[in-house]
Structure formats: C-alpha cells, structure tokens
C-alpha cells in the first residue's frame, strides 16, 4: 500500500463522512434489514428448525457489502466524469493509486458495517461457535469478500463511467446475485431446476465459507477452498479490468 493510495483513501473517507447517505448505506440500512428480517421471519424459521440469527448475520453482511460495492462503483464513475482521475493521472503518483485508494476506503466502510452488525446480532442471540481463530476468520473472510466485490465494482464504474449506467448495472448484478443465492434462503427452498445455480454461484460459496467459520460442527477446508478460489479469480478479473479502464479514463 503506497503513500499515494493512503492519501487518496483519506480523501474518500473524508468525503464519505460528509455524505449522510454513505453512512446510511453502510450501517443504518443493514441494521434495519437485520432487525426487520429477524422480527418477520425469526419465528417461522425457528419452527423450521433453523437458528435464524445465526443464518441471518452472514446474509446481512453480504447484503451490506453489496451496498458498499455499489457505492464504490458510483464514486469511481464520479471521479472519471468529474475530471478527478484525469487530474490524478498527470501527477507523479502510481497509476493504480486511485483504484487502491478507493478500495481501502471502501474496505474501511465495510469494516464499519461489520463492526455494527456483529454486536447487534450478538444482542439478538448470535454466537460464534467455532473459537477465537475461526471467529477472526469470519471477520477476515467478510473483509476479503468486501475487497474483492469492491474491486470488481470499481472496475465496472471506471469502465462504464456514466453514473446512470453504473447504477443500472449495479442493480442488474445485485438482485440476481443476492436473491438467487443461499444468503437469505437455503438452497433447498429454491425450485429444483434453479438449485444448481444457487448452490454454485460465488455469493453462495462465500456465504457457505462465512457460515462454516461461525459454526462448530462442519468441515472448514472444502468451503474455504472453494470460496478462496472464487475470490482469487474475481480479484484477478477485477484488477485486470480496473487497470485497463484507468488507462483510458482520461
């Protein structure tokens, strides 16, 4: 992490702190969702034999990560259309510093949402069952997912440039990726022809890994390996597109 990206991360964090919507999206909205889902579905799921808050927290973290990523795409596009990127590119800084600066700021924001969601869920009955190391892994895996998702969304923002196009594309990714996953409902609740997609898509795989890290009696190796492979692959793709886009974003 270079000094330039640190300075640029500071810029984004300061700008975020002055946009009420960015705190809403990262902290208040996810808390609200957690509370709503818990009150509405908690009893039904309990009757179905699911410890709902245990199931819900990873879902809400993933959803909050999507909110953060969607905003990162928008901020990236604004930096292109507003001329900031152009200006940064004629300064003696690393070419990729604007991407990493925004990424660090967004991961910080994701950490903020996790920092708000975990204690709130504990208050609603959530417990880490897997010991200290696995619990740290839970946080780390959530942050890794945030870093990768934001990289991909920043790449998308830099490529599409137009803010409305970015918003459209964000929704087009967010709804199917989240709703056709096992984040909010278990895969067996989907029609059988959809089940393979739901089970194997990356969001579900990440949810599997995060849930395994909070749980006690499941094998960790397989879900972690699959999730890590997905995340590494997406990171390479995201970084590739972001670097390519930043070269043309003058």
């Amino acid at each position: 992490m270079s000094l330039d990206s640190t300075v640029l991360a500071g810029r984004h964090l300061r700008l975020m702190s002055r946009r009420p919507a960015s705190i809403m999206g990262a902290v208040i909205l996810p808390l609200l969702f957690a509370l709503l889902f818990f009150t509405v579905f908690g009893k039904v799921m309990d009757r179905a034999g699911i410890d709902y808050i245990f199931y819900l927290l990873p879902a809400i973290i993933i959803q909050a990560t999507f909110f953060t990523a969607m905003s990162s795409a928008q901020l990236a596009a604004e930096d292109v259309t507003g001329g900031t990127l152009r200006r940064l590119r004629v300064m003696p800084i690393r070419r990729t510093a604007p991407v990493f600066g925004l990424l660090w700021a967004e991961v910080t924001r994701a950490a903020l949402s996790i920092g708000a969601l975990v204690p709130a869920s504990v208050a609603l009955g959530f417990r880490f069952r897997g010991g200290l190391l696995a619990s740290a892994g839970f946080i780390l895996a959530s942050l890794a997912f945030a870093a990768v998702l934001c990289t991909c969304f920043i790449a998308m923002g830099l490529t599409l440039r137009r803010v409305e196009a970015v918003q459209g594309a964000s929704n087009l990714i967010y709804f199917p990726a989240l709703l056709l996953s096992n984040a909010f409902a278990p895969a067996w609740a989907f029609p059988s022809w959809l089940r393979p997609v739901v089970e194997h898509q990356p969001v579900s795989r990440v949810a599997d890994a995060i849930r395994a890290l909070a749980d006690t009696d499941v094998g960790l190796t397989r879900p972690l390996l699959i999730a890590t492979t997905w995340l590494a692959g997406l990171l390479v793709v995201g970084l590739g597109f972001a670097t390519r886009a930043i070269g043309r974003a003058a």
């Binding site: 000094l3 330039d4 300075v7 640029l8 810029r11 300061r14 700008l15 002055r18 946009r19 507003g82 001329g83 900031t84 152009r86 200006r87 940064l88 590119r89 004629v90 300064m91 003696p92 800084i93 003058a250």
Partner: protein, 323 residues
C-alpha cells in the same frame, strides 16, 4: 539566457477516423506565455493531453522541460502543473483541504502541505474562503483554487486548458493578472483558448491551430496584421441575399461571405460610411427585398484570422467536437 521548455515535432494522433493532430510542431521558450488558439475540434485539447502524458502520440516527439513525454512520463508529471477546463476539485472538501490533498500527492509532508496550502490561499485571495467547502464557491473562485492546486509544487511548465471559459469579465481579468505574475516568476505557460482577446491580452506568442496543425504563429500584433485589421461587418439573416450584397459591395474591397452575413476589410470609419451610403441607395432599388439586421465596424475576431489564414470559416459554436 533562454531555453526551450516545450518542443513538439510533427505530432500525429488519430482517433478512429478523426485526425486530431496532423503534424503539429511548436517550440515554447522558457518564461513565456504561449497561446494555442483554435476552434473546438482543432486539436487543442488533444495537444494538451499529449504534452501532459495523458495521451501517447501516434508519431512525433514532445519534450517538456527536457524530458520526453512518452519515455520519461513520470519525470514530466513531476515538473508540470495542469489546470483543466472543468476545475476538478472536490465539492465537499474545503479549499484548504483540496490544496493539502494535492500537496500530499506531490509528496509534501503533512505540515509542509498545510503551510503551502495556506500560502497559496493567500496568494490567490482565498484566505476566508479556504475554510468553506468548494461547492459554495463562485466560478471565478473555483478557477483560482484550481490554478492554486496546480501550483502546490511550483511547476516548471504550466498547462492551462481554456482557463477562463465561462467566467465573467471581472474574474477573467483577475485570472489573467495571476497568470502574468506566474510568467514573471519564470514559469513557462501554455494556454489554450478559443478567445482571440484572451490570447491577445495574455500570450507572448500565439500559434493558431486548425485541423491538428499550426497554421500560423507569431505575436498577437503579427497575427492581427495578417488578419487585415478592422472589418466592416453586415449581418444578413437571409442566406440567399448574401451573395447579392457581396456583389453590390465588390468594388469597395474584398468581400467575404460569412455564415451570418458578409464582411470586408475596413480602412477606418470612412469604409463604414461608404458601405452605408451604397446600401442605402441599393435598398431603394435592386436590393429592396434585403433585410439588413446590423452594420458595424469591428476588430478582427478569431473567425477573421481563420478566414485569412486558412481560407475557410471557423465556427466555434458549430464546429464538431473531436476529442
């Protein structure tokens, strides 16, 4: 002792089918203001992009402060300042925070960056505004802050891309003064503009560019001489009557048909008197159907310079925008 701070030789740049630069060459002496004058789409912005390392030329070389823009891009970025047409500042940061940010990116320490920012706010008359977010700034204040931002580390060469487009006359004159002061401190300035008046006021030398190459270069005085001094301009809304009016006035001077009327070189007020007299007679007879909107003397404009130099009209408002 003077040395060349920007030297471009035979630059070529094509975007798809648009030839943005077509053999552009120029030399800018140290400590001078050089004006790049041309209509939209003439290649001004592409030239700036190449000079400031944003774009690679297809062919040709550019040296800025002795560094080659393609081979030594990083060194070039270290010695230039760039101010764009759109003043890329963060609306939700204060003036001071914006300047500190650029100072930090130019590798000044935290304290140094702050001290430099304060110094610049003072120099650009923004001390009070420095604590306010820039979204509250007027157009003139934004441009001043933008200029200050490109000076966080005193550049050797400063590029100003249409620095006063959209500014009111008062702010424009204030900005001109600041640019002159920078030149007097030894900074080499390359400025692009569509306004002849701006190049006239500010630039020590002017290059007129069109279709991606320099069509004339000289001091403002030299260029105006080539444009032929004042002109008498007759505004005719109806396009069909322009040729007839031009024929009627043919013996008074070399009449040029323009998109909005006709014009001819004027020696002085007597040309205007002669034209009015002639048209007065003619509208009573052969030109009775002609609707004359306005007649007047005016100083040569960018359009006149272009007409003389290239034999074709330059229409800043209607020219296609090529990157």
């Amino acid at each position: 002792m003077s040395s060349v701070m920007v030297e471009a030789n035979d630059l070529m740049k094509t975007f798809g089918t648009v030839r943005a630069l077509d053999g552009l060459s120029l030399r800018i002496e140290q400590g001078t203001i050089f004006g790049l004058l041309g209509p939209n789409g003439a290649g001004k912005t592409t030239a700036i992009n190449v000079f400031t390392t944003l774009e690679r030329p297809d062919a040709g070389q550019v040296r800025v402060a002795g560094y080659d823009v393609t081979r030594d891009a990083a060194q070039v970025r270290g010695v230039i300042g760039v101010t764009g047409q759109f003043a890329a500042l963060d609306d939700n940061l204060t003036g001071l925070e914006n300047l500190v940010l650029f100072g930090r990116l130019m590798k000044l320490g935290r304290q140094q960056a702050k001290a430099r920012a304060r110094e610049l706010l003072e120099r650009f008359d923004l001390v009070e505004a420095g604590a306010r977010r820039t979204k509250t700034y007027s157009g003139g204040m934004r441009r001043r802050l933008d200029l200050a931002a490109s000076l966080t580390r005193e550049p050797t060469v400063l590029f100003l891309d249409e620095p006063t487009t959209g500014l009111d006359p008062h702010s424009r004159i204030a900005l001109w003064d600041m640019v002159r002061e920078l030149r007097d401190n030894g900074i080499t300035v390359l400025l692009t503009t569509q306004y002849l008046a701006e190049a006239d006021e500010l630039a020590d030398r002017i290059a007129v560019i069109d279709h991606g190459r320099v069509v004339a270069e000289g001091t403002a005085g030299e260029l105006k001489q080539r444009a032929g001094g004042s002109v008498c301009h007759i505004t005719l809304p109806d396009n069909a009557t322009r040729e007839r009016v031009a024929r009627e006035l043919a013996d008074l001077g070399e009449v040029t048909v323009l998109p909005d009327g006709v014009s001819l070189p004027a020696a002085g007020p007597e040309t205007l008197v002669a034209v009015v007299r002639r048209l007065d007679e003619a509208t009573a007879t052969t030109l009775s159907d002609v609707d004359i909107e306005d007649i007047g003397l005016r100083r040569p404009t960018l359009e006149d310079v272009f007409l003389r130099l290239t034999g074709q009209g330059a229409h800043p408002e209607t020219a296609e925008v090529a990157t």
